[in-house]
């Protein structure tokens, strides 16, 4: 179903949807940037179309909506374990194709890897409808086309934002009632970005041998990376977490078990009780992350984990570029080029 809607009509629809859905989109958080007097663009609840920031990429991805940074798994009282109720509200998220594809990667880990589904993920995930923001320009650091994640057809609604109106492709018939009384029918097929400024070539996984693990290319990252973890926390596909038990009261009778995002770049990710860790150098951690994103995940599931959203580039305080790293790897593996460039 295609529609053309005036912005104010679209806002009316959003308003009505709010009775049933929590609506999230990329928005501006004023003065919440890292530096003073700067904003951050992130995901939050929006009221109207004008709240949606389209001309800047979000610093954080929308994954926190379905995979919260801190998530209570259950509460402990002295003799009882209680699982918190799932949030009632259904969810709409405005996001770009790369992020929809990114959430597919999260689905893969949480719902398909291993013998069990992650029920906490599932119960949030199944409430989510994607409102896809048509993305034909991208941003400087994006390389979604190289990662084949510039397109998706998995959306409830696709939207092109024009100056005064929006074009809609409505796929989800649940939402028909909201849209059919507005605007005029107009066929609309979203377009997708065809070429990014940044491009990567990914070495074929079968050509990445264990020799690559010891390659000197990683030493550069031991020198440069400070292990802050921003690449992980901004990534749409990073899914690792750590369990934590906390207590609420001084005598420790009541508390909760929760999980929090974990970062493979930050100390202690591999540390076992007693302190032994397996990847002590930042270069090894960079190698681990890189391989996960463009090699290991592929071997396991048949597609790459990285979707090329480029956020890791945008947020790195040391200006380490992941796309550059991938290309270096390609150059070494495919072209036998071992020169540091």
């Amino acid at each position: 179903m295609g529609y053309q809607l005036l912005n104010k009509d679209f806002n009316d629809i959003l308003n009505q949807l709010k009775s049933e859905y929590k609506i999230y989109g990329p928005k501006r958080f004023e003065n919440k940037g890292r530096f003073s007097d700067t904003d951050v663009i992130g995901y939050g609840e929006i009221d109207k179309l004008e709240d949606i920031v389209l001309d800047e990429k979000t610093y954080f991805s929308p994954k926190e909506i379905i995979y919260p940074i801190r998530q209570t798994l259950f509460y402990f009282t002295e003799d009882e374990v209680k699982v918190p109720d799932a949030p009632e509200d259904k969810v709409i998220v405005f996001l770009r194709p790369c992020d929809i594809n990114g959430i597919k990667r999260l689905d893969t880990i949480f719902l398909e890897n291993g013998p069990y589904k992650d029920v906490y993920y599932e119960r949030l995930r199944e409430k989510v409808k994607f409102f896809m923001i048509e993305c034909t320009e991208g941003f400087d650091s994006c390389f979604c086309v190289s990662m084949n994640s510039n397109k998706t057809h998995d959306y409830a609604v696709a939207i092109r934002f024009n100056e005064e109106n929006v074009l809609i492709d409505l796929k989800d018939r649940d939402l028909l009632e909201y849209f059919e009384n507005y605007g005029k029918a107009e066929e609309f097929t979203p377009e997708y970005i065809k070429e990014n400024k940044a491009k990567v070539s990914i070495p074929y996984p079968e050509k990445v041998t264990n020799e690559m693990f010891e390659h000197e290319v990683w030493q550069e990252y031991t020198r440069r990376c400070i292990g802050c973890g921003r690449c992980n926390t901004s990534c749409i596909t990073c899914s690792c977490f750590t369990m934590q038990d906390v207590y609420y009261d001084a005598n420790k009778k009541v508390g909760e078990r929760r999980r929090v995002w974990a970062s493979c770049q930050i100390d202690v990710f591999t540390n076992m009780a007693g302190g032994h860790g397996f990847r002590e150098k930042q270069g090894q951690r960079m190698r681990f992350k890189t391989m996960h994103k463009i090699n290991d995940f592929y071997k396991r599931f048949g597609f790459h984990m990285c979707v090329g959203c480029g956020r890791c580039d945008d947020v790195c305080p040391e200006y380490i570029s992941f796309s550059k790293c991938i290309n270096k790897l390609y150059s070494i593996v495919e072209e036998g080029n071992n020169d540091e460039k």
Binding site: I69, T233, V260
Partner: protein, 333 residues
């Protein structure tokens, strides 16, 4: 040669060691200016001076080697500078073609602030200009500098008034991933105000100096800056031949309005307590004479402090006195 030295000095020209030659001093509040003014400075230096310019510690320019009789001409030449850097920010100068009307209160200097620096908690240039507007022109000898964060790159601790920008970190537990980057950094680089307990960051309010480093370190935005901007005001630091000393904290967690008002009030205080028998008296020595409490009462007149604000009950300025601490053992052979 007949020169009214006092008038010349007040007009921001210096009496130099070379008889007949003066040096022009140009104020640059906050040390930040459009480069177009360089052309004027260059022209003065080349046409009237010796072709050089000195960048002063207070972030002004000093153009040496000028004949006294060229002062009126030069004052007319610097009109655009006075307009751009003084009048345009609200400073009241009656005749902008007559040069600077006062030189006692020195240029208000500032670090580069958050225009460029990641650590800065506010726009220092803006604040220097607001202060300049309130206190210039003025003959009383007061030195003021503002700095973006407790790193104090401008050396606010060496001023009569040093303004240090701070923030009150806001911790959103729900975004914290327990990486402890903030805790470790605070322990290593700052005051160790943060602890990690029960997988949560706990702040010791008394130890937190509001530098905002934890905000910079946080990878998830769990630590952010407060909407309100706060300042720490340190006072009566100085160099000099009597008793060099580092400024001490007078007010903490106060707002911009308070900072400006206190500095402004200080001029009334000076007016009342300055030793009029002297040609001039540096504010620090007046405070030495009247004592901190008299100063405190005077500068806090009509100031409404918010509940978060803290005032020093007592200040022991310390430093050292040349006349008392000048004895050293000779190196034994």
């Amino acid at each position: 040669m007949s020169i009214d030295v006092k008038k010349v000095k007040k007009n921001a020209f210096r009496i130099t060691k070379q008889r007949g030659k003066t040096a022009l001093r140009i104020r640059v509040p906050g040390g930040h200016l459009e480069v177009k003014y360089f052309d004027i400075i260059k022209e003065i230096a080349e046409k009237y001076g010796d072709g050089t310019v000195h960048i002063t510690i207070r972030q002004g320019f000093e153009v040496p080697g000028i004949d006294f009789d060229k002062m009126p001409e030069i004052n007319r030449m610097i009109k655009p500078i006075i307009e751009g850097l003084e009048l345009d920010i609200g400073v009241n100068i009656d005749d902008p073609e007559a040069g600077y009307p006062a030189a006692g209160t020195r240029n208000v200097s500032g670090c580069i602030g958050n225009k460029v620096c990641p650590f800065a908690n506010y726009n220092t240039t803006d604040l220097t200009r607001k202060i300049e507007k309130e206190i210039f022109p003025n003959d009383y000898h007061v030195k003021i500098a503002v700095t973006g964060c407790p790193n104090d790159c401008i050396k606010a601790h060496m001023q009569d008034f040093g303004v240090i920008g701070i923030t009150e970190p806001q911790y959103d537990e729900g975004r914290c991933i327990s990486c402890q980057a903030c805790v470790k950094n605070c322990r290593k680089r700052v005051t160790g105000a943060l602890k990690f307990e029960n997988y949560t960051v706990v702040k010791d309010e008394d130890r937190c100096i509001g530098c905002g480093e934890c905000v910079l370190k946080c990878p998830t935005g769990a630590m952010t800056r407060s909407k309100e901007k706060y300042y720490r005001l340190v006072i009566m630091g100085r160099t000099g031949k009597k008793n060099p000393r580092i400024a001490r904290t007078f007010l903490n967690w106060v707002d911009e309005e308070t900072v400006i008002k206190v500095i402004k009030n200080c001029y009334d205080y000076i007016d009342e307590y300055i030793d009029k028998s002297l040609g001039k008296e540096h504010v620090g020595y007046i405070v030495d004479r009247t004592g901190y409490n008299v100063f405190k009462e005077a500068v806090l007149k009509d100031v409404k402090l918010r509940t978060k604000a803290k005032i020093a009950d007592y200040i022991d300025f310390g430093g050292y006195m040349y006349e008392r601490n000048r004895f050293f053992s000779e190196v034994s052979r």
